[in-house]
Structures are given as structure tokens and as C-alpha cells.
């Protein structure tokens, strides 16, 4: 009996919450809870905050946005079901989301079949390579991070490098991408070590790398692993400088590793982290400072690049609907693909028929940690 009452209440509530017909229905499936919540939480908060702001300013082409957001908990099967629901039941005109590569790839067939434009917030290069007609993404790829790091290593005269990678999804994906582009970037990987994401000590792996004669060390991983690697790197007094990935681009990393151990560590990251240090004439400055101040005053939390990806996706979509002057999914798709010179938190975006990522290596800043803070490497 309880179940039946509950279900009818739920049905009644759904009916009440139903949108007015003129609204622009934009869907989102975000991993707000579950193992990817540290990515999904700032994304969801950003979307809610920015949609409210856009609606307060009169919406898009005079219509308010109705954001329909589901929490897939990082489960690709659930994401797939929500994707079907967004398309079939909620009749959205475009979708933002897919916090992880897994949830994104599970949803792709649904949007491709239904011909609904989809802007993913996940990292892997598979999402946009090969190019899928209706699928775009806003974050940099792991491969670009590798290229940016190798570029910096080569500029400092390092050619023999050691890799140490986490065995989680992020670490493995980046490890594979880095090995792929190493040769073309002019570096040789002389050591390739792996650790479990929960490991508390990485000195054996680092000792192996030290013995291999590597001139620089690259750690691909996220979470607490890179902090342990950074501490061990200092404890073992390894001379070869340490590079971290964009996966640790948050203040929390410096706190975990300790500013002493983190001193001199370099990593590629979006300009969002160093908003104040950007040159006054940098076109990105007003965008990143505006988003950061808005997010931090609204949520009371530090801004992260992940929320920035959602910000970029929403505003790319807004610009596309405005330039298309229509809410037809096909017209929106064409307008998204025609996006050029869009300045977001990740950099300048120029989509084209064979590039649904639209970012170049310039979008990354190479940062160095000095006195417990980020500084831009010139």
C-alpha cells in the first residue's frame, strides 16, 4: 500500500513540476553522487547557478531555460536510461553532461540516434575521435596534457623521462595517451611504473625510476596518489623534477602533499586556477574572474576546473541557440559546430566539422608550485 501511495504522489509531483511549453528544455545527466562526485558536484552547482542567472537576465532568445538535470551516480547504465528519458520523455533540445568517460560513452548512441546535440564534460579523446555528428566536449583531453608536459620537458632539455601512473581510470587513460605521443614529442620513456590509487607509499616505484636514469618524472593520476608521490619524491631527494597532471589542479593537492614537498612541481592546467595572475589584456581574464567570483560567493567553495567545463558547455549552447535563432536540435547542432572564437574557462574554442573539441595546446597554462601557490611558467 505504501508503495502505491508513494508512486501516485510521485506521479502527481512530476505533473506539477512539468515545464511550461515555451521553455527551452535543456537536459543534463551529471554524476552528482558516487565515485565521480568530486567532478559532478561542482558541475551540477555551476549549471544550476548559471541557468538561474541566464533566466534572470531574460533567458535565451526571449525564452527561459528549463534545466532538467538527473544524477546518474557515475553508473553508465543509469546514465543511459536517463539519456532515453531526456530524449523521449522530457523532449529536450540539447544535453550537457556525462561527467565521466563511461557515462558519456553509454549515452552517445542515444543522442546520435535521436539527433540531439550533446556536449560532454568528460576527458577521454575517444568521445570526439572519431568525430560523431552530434557529440562535442569542453574539457582538454589527456593527450593534450601529455603533449603540453612533454613540450615543457623538451624546452628544459629533458629527453629521458620516467612515468609513474595510478591504476584508476584517469591514470591508465593518461598513461596510454602519454606513451602514444612520447615519440612524436621527442621524449623517451625509460621507466614506466604503476601504483594503486589507495597506496600509501610509492618509494619502491620511485626508486626504480631513480635507478633508470630518468631526467624528469611524470605522474599521471588523481586523488591522493599524486600527493603521496610528491611527498616520496622529496623524501628520496630525487633530482629529476616532478610533473603532475591536470588531474590534481586543485588547492587540495598542495594541502595534501604539503607546500614544502610540492615546491617546484609543475603541471598543466586551465587558466581558471590562476585567474588573478593572467595579464590584464588576456581575453580570458574577465570570463574566468567572473565565473570564479560568482561560484565562490554562491557556494562558498573553491572553484575547480570541472565546474568550469560545465560553464563552458552551457554558454557554448546559449551562444549556439542565439545564433541559430531557433530551438530545433538540428539547427542548434549546426550552430555549435560553427562556434568560433568562443572564450571560455578552458580557453578559446573553435569547433569545426572535423574537430569537436576546438581547443589547442595554448589553452593550457604550465604552472609551477611556489610557496604553496600556483605561478605561471613563462
Amino acid at each position: 500500500m505504501t508503495i502505491r501511495t508513494l508512486m501516485s504522489t510521485a506521479a502527481a509531483l512530476t505533473a506539477l513540476a512539468g515545464p511550461a511549453l515555451a521553455d527551452i528544455n535543456i537536459g543534463a545527466s551529471i554524476s552528482e553522487t558516487g565515485p565521480a562526485a568530486f567532478l559532478g558536484d561542482p558541475e551540477a552547482k555551476t549549471l544550476r547557478m548559471e541557468v538561474e542567472k541566464i533566466n534572470a537576465e531574460g533567458g535565451i532568445i526571449g525564452e527561459p531555460i528549463n534545466l532538467i538535470m538527473y544524477d546518474d551516480g557515475g553508473d553508465p547504465n543509469k546514465a543511459r536510461t536517463f539519456a532515453t528519458r531526456l530524449v523521449e520523455d522530457d523532449e529536450v533540445v540539447a544535453v550537457i553532461g556525462g561527467t565521466t568517460t563511461g557515462t558519456t560513452m553509454a549515452m552517445v548512441p542515444v543522442y546520435e540516434d535521436a539527433e540531439i546535440p550533446f556536449i560532454s564534460l568528460a576527458g577521454a579523446v575517444e568521445i570526439i575521435e572519431p568525430v560523431k555528428e552530434f557529440v562535442f566536449k569542453t574539457p582538454h583531453t589527456d593527450r593534450m596534457a601529455c603533449e603540453k608536459i612533454f613540450e615543457d620537458m623538451a624546452a628544459r632539455g629533458f629527453s629521458r623521462i620516467g612515468m609513474i601512473s595510478g591504476s584508476d581510470g584517469f591514470g591508465k587513460s593518461m598513461q596510454a595517451q602519454c606513451k602514444d605521443v612520447a615519440e612524436a614529442s621527442g621524449v623517451e620513456i625509460v621507466a614506466d611504473e604503476v601504483y594503486g590509487p589507495q597506496d600509501a607509499d610509492m618509494t619502491p616505484q620511485l626508486t626504480n625510476i631513480k635507478g633508470s636514469g630518468a631526467e624528469a618524472i611524470l605522474n599521471s593520476g588523481m586523488g591522493q596518489g599524486p600527493a603521496v608521490v610528491t611527498r616520496n619524491h622529496t623524501q628520496l631527494a630525487i633530482d629529476a623534477p616532478l610533473y603532475q597532471s591536470h588531474g590534481v589542479a586543485s588547492k587540495q593537492f598542495i594541502e595534501l602533499a604539503g607546500s614544502e614537498a610540492a615546491e617546484g612541481v609543475r603541471l598543466p592546467a586551465a587558466a581558471l586556477l590562476v585567474a588573478d595572475q593572467l595579464a590584464e589584456d588576456d581575453p580570458q581574464k574577465p570570463v574566468v574572474v567572473g565565473y570564479r567570483d560568482g561560484y565562490e560567493s554562491e557556494t562558498g567553495e573553491d572553484v575547480s576546473t570541472f565546474g568550469g567545463h560545465a560553464y563552458d558547455a552551457l554558454y557554448i549552447l546559449k551562444a549556439a541557440i542565439e545564433s541559430a535563432g531557433s530551438t530545433e536540435p538540428a539547427a542548434i547542432r549546426d550552430a555549435i559546430e560553427a562556434t568560433s572564437g568562443f572564450v571560455g574557462t578552458a580557453g578559446e574554442v573553435n569547433f569545426s566539422g572535423d574537430d569537436h573539441l576546438g581547443l589547442t595546446l595554448d589553452a593550457f597554462e604550465m604552472l609551477e608550485i611556489k610557496d604553496g601557490n600556483w605561478t605561471i611558467v613563462e
Binding site: T2, I3, L6, M7, A10, A11, L13, T14, A17, T33, Y70, D71, D75, P76, N77, K78, R80, T81, T84, R85, V87, E88, D89, T101, G102, M105, A106, V108, P109, D113, A124, E126, S167, D168, G169, K172, S173, A176
Partner: protein
């Protein structure tokens, strides 16, 4: 005329599968329906293991994972026909269940639970780490089975969700029919006997070890086929399908709906598959409500939802 319980169950299932679409306002409901049937199929296997034989497994998602990844890997790596892959996957699951089950089923109660849990996690780890073959944590694309196109060529104009609704509905019916037949067979009687008391069953000449193993292998095949169906419908699969949370979901569905009856277990699968979709309106309280509902059912309706409700209805009418 009075129908046997077996025929009644099958009839109720068939009518539900056939008539539910009349109430579907959109294609999305076919998708949820197909998920219910796929979970229902795996759970029917669990009824044989938990309800008939009285054994527990917290690792059956591992077999779903094997079924799902067979559909993803075999056609691409070894050129096996996409329709043969689910069958081979089921065969591999059966073989593995047999190998693993022999030592594991000597254990009882929570020892058995922990051992099966370990097996499930092992499969999950292999799927996560053998990235060259399985695509690793990011998952792998599943080649198109060609079945929906075949249906279209046969003149059936169905969307992807609709096709898999009918397909998994049919497979569930077949699975339920087999499970119900098993119940009344000598094997089924032996299973129920050892469920009651292993010592008593052994005294009357039941080969306890063999029958337990049989139930384990059969339920593994059910889970494997369910995993294959899911992979073929989604066309993309990640190791989560073999994750231990999925194993626990399967057991929860079985126990929630009523472990002793096929219809009850399918009912449990339906509720746990639908609830997250219904509860999205409560967003933050979703998990809270889900937990609360399960606790209440387990405290007040210990035989499972459906059997308890049926008793309530019968009790009133008499």
C-alpha cells in the same frame, strides 16, 4: 477451471509484458521495461539459487560481466558472430561457475557469501585491469547485433527501446518457464529438500554437493544471459556491470520481492529498477527513501513483497 500455479505465473507474466505498453506515454518506458526484464531474468536465476536451494551469492554480477563482455570482445577480437557471443558467454559462465562452485559451495552461510563476493570482485578487477582486451575502466563499445535491423527487415517497425523490450520480455518468459519447470522436477525437489535441511536431504540419498553446484551453474547462466542482453541493448559496457553493488542489487531484488517465487522476484526487480526513476523528483532524498522502503519491507513483510501482499489479499477475501 483451476490453473496450476506454474501456468498462472506464466500467464500473469505474459499478460503484463503484452499489455503494459498500452499505458506507455513514451519510448522511455520501453527502456525501463526492458531493464526490468533483464534484471528480472538475472533475479529468476537467483530464485533458483536462493529460493530453491537456499544458497547465497554476492558475486553474481561477475557472471553478468562475463556475459556482457563476451558480446563486446568476441565479435571484435575473434570475429565470432554477435549472436553466437551470448551463447558462448553463457557457456563460459557455466564452466567458470562449475569450477569455482566446487570448492566454494563446501562453505555455508556467511563464509559462502564472502567467497562469492570475492569471486565477483575478481571478475571486476580483471575487467578493470586487462585494458588491452576490455578497454579498462572507461568501458568498451559493443558491436551492433544486427537484431533490430533483422526485425525491421521482417516488417516490424520498432525503435531500439521497443525492440529490446519485446526481446528481453520473451527471454524472461522463457527463463521463467524453465525455472518453474525446474521447481517441480526431481532436481527442484532435491534442491528444496537440501534447503530445508542438508543433513536430512543427505540421509534420504540426495547428492547435496552435486545439486548445490547445479543450482549455482544454472543461476550463473541466467545472470550471464541478462548481462549479454544489457550489453547488446546499450551497445556500450563498463566494468560497473560486474561491480559488487550490482551483485548486491540482484540479491536485494530477489529478497525484496520474495525469494521463493519467480513472480515475486520479478516484482522485486521491477520495483528496484523503477524506484530510482520515480524518486528523481525527490532528488536528495532518493537514497534515503530507497533505504527506508527496503528496511520497512524487510521488517514487516519478511517473506518478500509479493507473497506477503498476496497473503493479505487472500486473508481478506476469505
Amino acid at each position: 477451471m483451476r490453473l496450476s500455479p506454474r501456468a498462472t505465473t506464466l500467464l500473469v507474466l505474459a499478460v503484463l509484458i503484452a499489455l503494459s505498453p498500452l499505458m506507455f506515454p513514451s519510448n522511455f518506458y520501453y527502456r525501463v521495461g526492458s531493464l526490468i526484464f533483464m534484471n528480472g531474468l538475472a533475479v529468476t536465476g537467483m530464485v533458483i539459487l536462493i529460493g530453491y536451494a537456499g544458497q547465497i551469492s554476492l558475486g553474481h554480477a561477475g557472471f553478468s560481466g562475463i556475459g556482457a563482455y563476451s558480446c563486446a570482445i568476441m565479435p571484435v577480437q575473434w570475429g565470432i558472430h554477435p549472436l553466437l557471443a551470448p551463447l558462448l558467454g553463457a557457456a563460459i559462465s557455466a564452466l567458470l561457475a562449475w569450477l569455482v562452485g566446487r570448492p566454494i559451495l563446501r562453505l555455508k552461510g556467511y563464509y559462502l557469501a564472502v567467497a562469492t563476493l570475492g569471486f565477483g570482485i575478481l571478475v571486476y578487477m580483471v575487467l578493470m585491469n586487462e585494458a588491452a582486451l576490455t578497454g579498462g575502466p572507461d568501458g568498451i563499445t559493443v558491436a551492433d547485433s544486427g537484431l533490430p535491423d533483422l526485425a525491421e527487415a521482417a516488417g516490424l517497425d520498432l525503435s531500439n527501446s521497443q525492440f529490446w523490450y519485446w526481446m528481453s520480455g520473451l527471454v524472461l518468459l522463457a527463463g521463467a518457464w524453465l525455472a518453474l519447470n525446474l521447481y517441480d522436477s526431481p532436481t527442484g525437489r532435491a534442491l528444496r529438500a537440501l534447503h530445508g535441511s542438508e543433513v536430512a536431504a543427505r540421509t534420504v540419498g540426495v547428492d547435496v554437493a552435486r545439486y548445490k553446484l547445479q543450482a549455482f551453474v544454472i543461476s550463473a547462466v541466467y545472470a550471464s544471459v541478462a548481462g549479454s542482453l544489457l550489453a547488446l541493448q546499450n551497445k556500450f559496457i563498463t566494468p560497473d556491470v560486474a561491480g559488487y553493488m550490482h551483485s548486491i542489487e540482484l540479491v536485494t531484488m530477489t529478497v525484496l520481492g520474495g525469494a521463493h517465487s519467480v513472480l515475486g522476484a520479478v516484482f522485486g526487480a521491477a520495483i528496484l529498477t523503477m524506484l530510482p526513476q520515480v524518486l528523481t523528483v525527490f532528488a536528495e532524498y532518493e537514497h534515503l527513501l530507497l533505504g527506508l522502503i527496503m528496511m520497512l519491507v524487510m521488517i514487516f513483510l519478511r517473506d518478500g513483497l509479493l507473497p506477503s501482499l498476496m497473503r493479505l489479499i487472500r486473508g481478506k477475501s476469505e
